[in-house]
């Protein structure tokens, strides 16, 4: 197969070094400290005294080639063509001349890119594909993020929050992204057991794999209309979608029952408290495109209550831990329901096994 032989394979990604600006090469591993002179701008000072200025711009993550070229134009104009993206999908322009910062920020504003996300602020909302590309999605991703950031942008462009605020969205419980460890997580959920297509199932799916895929053993093999298929004991289904992942003939998507849940108090960093998962705040809100007002209101309320009550550097979860969950529910006005009480594998480890109760 001469064709294949000619192909380049397994070359891996470009070496990062070729993309580092000279100031970084010179100070690589020898940075001394940093400051945040203003929201969205970092200055890193090297041991030599060199100063690298970073301007961070918010991005919708979904970028057209046209816009990428526009960003490249700005990087060429201000940064000798060097730029990077962050782990939360923001765009970072790397400058050596502080005089250019204002000009760059003005050009970014014209192009529609806000500058911010640094320090004790809200950064970009990490999110997933949603209805734009994924077959599993119980909600859209980009739409909610846009609607929410339009409302919360003031916390992105300023540093007026007690601590970092990490919001993330995943469109199904597969939770692509660190959604499960976010200050506020927005999670698409299904609430109806898979609808089985008994015609296609036997052709498309391996029965034993399908049966084994269910963590609650809700799926049982049955014979129906002369061929082998499966049925779901609906009262055992908790809508995880694992069956659908292994078998396309068992979709969970359902306009009437799909929607959004809100989770709070997770974090990733080891700063102060240990990393931890987000916990359920609101079990269900409806899918209401294009602006999901219920979701936006709920998140805004959470941010407001936290911002008004937390101490400096106190992340959402640290604040709740300090005041106690009963007070969190009172302050936010969220109802505590049966759904909030864990009933999965390690449920008993979440029960309050002491009389240490904060009121």
């Amino acid at each position: 197969m001469p064709d294949i032989a000619k192909r380049k394979t397994d070359i891996g990604p470009p070496h990062y070094e070729q993309f580092l600006p000279p100031i970084i090469k010179a100070n690589y591993g020898k940075w001394k400290y940093h400051e945040i002179p203003r929201p969205g701008v970092l200055v890193h000072v090297g041991e030599t005294g060199d100063r690298l200025y970073t301007v961070r711009a918010g991005s919708p993550r979904l970028l057209s080639v046209q816009t990428i070229r526009q960003i490249c134009d700005l990087a060429d104009k201000y940064c000798d063509g060097y730029l990077r993206f962050t782990s939360r999908h923001n765009i970072e322009f790397l400058l050596t001349d502080p005089a250019k910062i204002d000009l760059l920020i003005a050009d970014l504003a014209t192009a529609g890119f806000p500058v911010g996300g640094t320090g004790n602020a809200l950064s970009n909302i990490v999110h997933t594909q949603g209805w734009i590309h994924c077959h599993s999605a119980a909600t859209d991703a980009s739409g909610i993020v846009k609607a929410l950031m339009d409302e919360l942008i003031g916390h992105f462009t300023s540093m007026d929050l007690p601590g970092k605020l990490r919001v993330a969205l995943a469109c199904c419980v597969n939770m692509c992204g660190a959604v499960h460890c976010s200050d506020i997580a927005i999670l698409g959920i299904h609430r109806r057991p898979p609808k089985i297509n008994h015609d296609r199932l036997p052709k498309m799916c391996e029965l034993p794999t399908v049966v084994a895929s269910c963590p609650t053993a809700a799926i049982r093999p049955v014979r129906k209309d002369g061929h082998e298929t499966v049925e779901v004991a609906e009262e055992l289904c908790m809508f995880c979608g694992n069956c659908y992942t292994v078998c396309p003939a068992m979709p969970l998507n359902d306009p009437l029952n799909d929607g959004v849940s809100i989770w709070v108090g997770g974090k990733v960093s080891n700063a102060r408290s240990e990393p931890g998962f987000s916990k359920l705040a609101i079990p269900f809100l409806p899918n209401n495109p294009p602006r999901w007002p219920e979701v936006v209101d709920a998140v805004k309320k959470l941010v407001d209550v936290w911002a008004a009550n937390a101490r400096p550097y106190e992340r959402m979860g640290e604040w709740i831990e300090r005041i106690g969950w009963p007070r969190f529910f009172r302050l936010t006005g969220i109802e505590f329901t049966k759904q909030h009480i864990d009933d999965f594998r390690h449920a008993e480890t979440t029960f309050r096994r002491s009389v240490h109760v904060k009121r």
Binding site: K8, T9, D10, I11, G12, P13, P14, H15, Y28, W31, Y33, H34, E35, H44, S59, R61, L63, S64, V65, Q66, C72, G81, Y82, L83, R84, F85, S87, I91, G112, G130, W131, H133, C134, H135, G143, V145, K146, A147, D150, N174, M175, G177, V179, C181, T209, P215, C240, V246, P248, N253, D258, S269, N270, A271, S273, F277, P289, P290, Y313, R345
Partner: protein, 396 residues
């Protein structure tokens, strides 16, 4: 490219407002791409009927690779024939997500020519996501990408595209070279990234310090998180300056230290480093005054993952401290043993964290030849159900 664009009133609403609009991006791409145009239609449809219109992906890919492409088909192909096939390609990003504009422009050119013109910069694992292409375009795109120095990332049951924080390139706290390590591992595991040979996905992420700016502990099967072993480096004078500038050192630094091992008497900051858990908080608050110690390396953790299917896990400590210098032999040997064991004995779709849970951490350690250490657990076992493999037999 369609002359009369179908109306998208719902989406149009999302062009308004101060945050940059993904709808604007779609419309921009649609100027040059019928696929992007029809994607607008599909999404408007979803916004109306509140359900997605994508089917389960089939097996598509580039020759010789089993990974890097997510197949995707529309469930309304008649209505939107241009996106009947709408696969994404995952392109491995350069470590730290640094670019020069010429490289990025190259990717844009290729993508404008063959695909929807829409991308994600970046995907949640870290790849450059080329969003939406037909099956016929896979090979040409791949060929042009490799021609320009790019290669595919992972998908499916492979080692996934490793990623890392900006590290020593622009951070004073990096305890090891995150970029060098990530590049090295990515090259080392090219075969494992491109050709599925594992029970399930295996993700590697590296953060230079405990702040964990790539969320390695939450999103990677193997999480490499920088730390140090000696004392925090304190510039007492600089602490004084922070205090003089209005920082309440006691309330904001000392009282928030998780091990309460700091004391500030107004002139000098005392740290009991034997009690410090290296959380970074004090350093974060006073970056000009405090720095990680000099004996630097990383903590290696294992098993992080999302909830599917037996519940989410954060990675847990496997090696409390490891020096990380090229050629990273110790780390590679460790990863090698893990992949071999889990590769052989892991069940289909069982992440390594779930595997460890099934066989027991103690047995897992034994199998990969690591000594058990108290650092690996929050506390020793509480239940009395201890296994012993052997017992004494009475003499007959």
């Amino acid at each position: 490219m369609s002359d009369e664009r179908r109306p998208t009133p719902k989406l149009d609403d999302l062009e308004k407002g101060p945050w940059p609009s993904f709808v604007r991006e779609m419309k921009r791409a649609a100027e040059g791409s019928a696929m992007a145009d029809q994607l607008l239609g599909v999404l408007e449809l979803s916004y109306g009927d509140r359900v997605g219109h994508w089917k389960h992906g089939g097996v598509v890919g580039v020759r010789g690779y089993g990974a890097g492409v997510i197949g995707r088909y529309s469930d309304v192909p008649e209505q939107f024939p241009e996106v009947a096939q709408f696969h994404t390609m995952r392109v491995n990003h350069p470590a730290g997500w640094f670019y020069k504009t010429d490289a990025l422009r190259k990717v844009c050119d290729i993508w404008e020519k063959h695909g929807s013109g829409l991308t994600n910069l970046h995907g949640a694992t870290g790849d450059i996501i080329l969003l939406g292409m037909k099956t016929e375009s896979l090979e040409p795109v791949f060929a042009e990408l490799t021609e320009n120095g790019f290669d595919l990332g992972g998908s499916g049951s492979v080692v996934r595209t490793p990623s890392c924080c900006v590290g020593p390139a622009r951070c004073e706290w990096a305890c090891f070279d995150t970029l060098a390590l990530t590049y090295d591992l990515t090259q080392h595991y090219q075969d494992e990234i491109h050709r599925p040979s594992l029970p399930y996905k295996f993700k590697i992420k590296a953060s230079g310090c405990p702040n964990d700016c790539v969320a390695a502990i939450a999103r990677a099967d193997l999480s490499i998180i920088g730390t140090w072993r000696d004392a925090i480096d304190v510039d007492q004078e600089a602490v004084g300056t922070y205090a003089a500038d209005g920082l309440d050192v006691r309330a904001t630094v000392c009282d928030r230290c998780p091990s309460k091992c700091m004391a500030w008497d107004g002139t000098s900051l005392d740290i009991d480093n034997s009690a410090c858990v290296r959380c970074m908080h004090c350093i974060n608050v006073m970056p000009k005054a405090l720095r990680p110690g000099l004996e630097r390396g990383a903590c290696i953790l294992i098993g992080g993952k999302a909830p599917i299917v037996s519940g989410a896990m954060l990675s847990s400590v496997l090696v409390p401290f490891m020096k990380l210098e090229p050629p990273y032999t110790e780390l590679k040997e460790l990863i090698g043993k893990i992949l071999e064991l889990w590769g052989d004995e892991g069940k289909n779709r069982e992440r390594v964290g779930e595997f460890i849970q099934r066989v027991g951490l103690g047995s897992f350690l034994e199998a990969i030849g690591l000594e058990p250490m108290p650092e690996m657990v929050k506390h020793p076992r509480e239940n009395p159900y201890v296994f012993y493999e052997e017992y004494f037999e009475e003499e007959k």
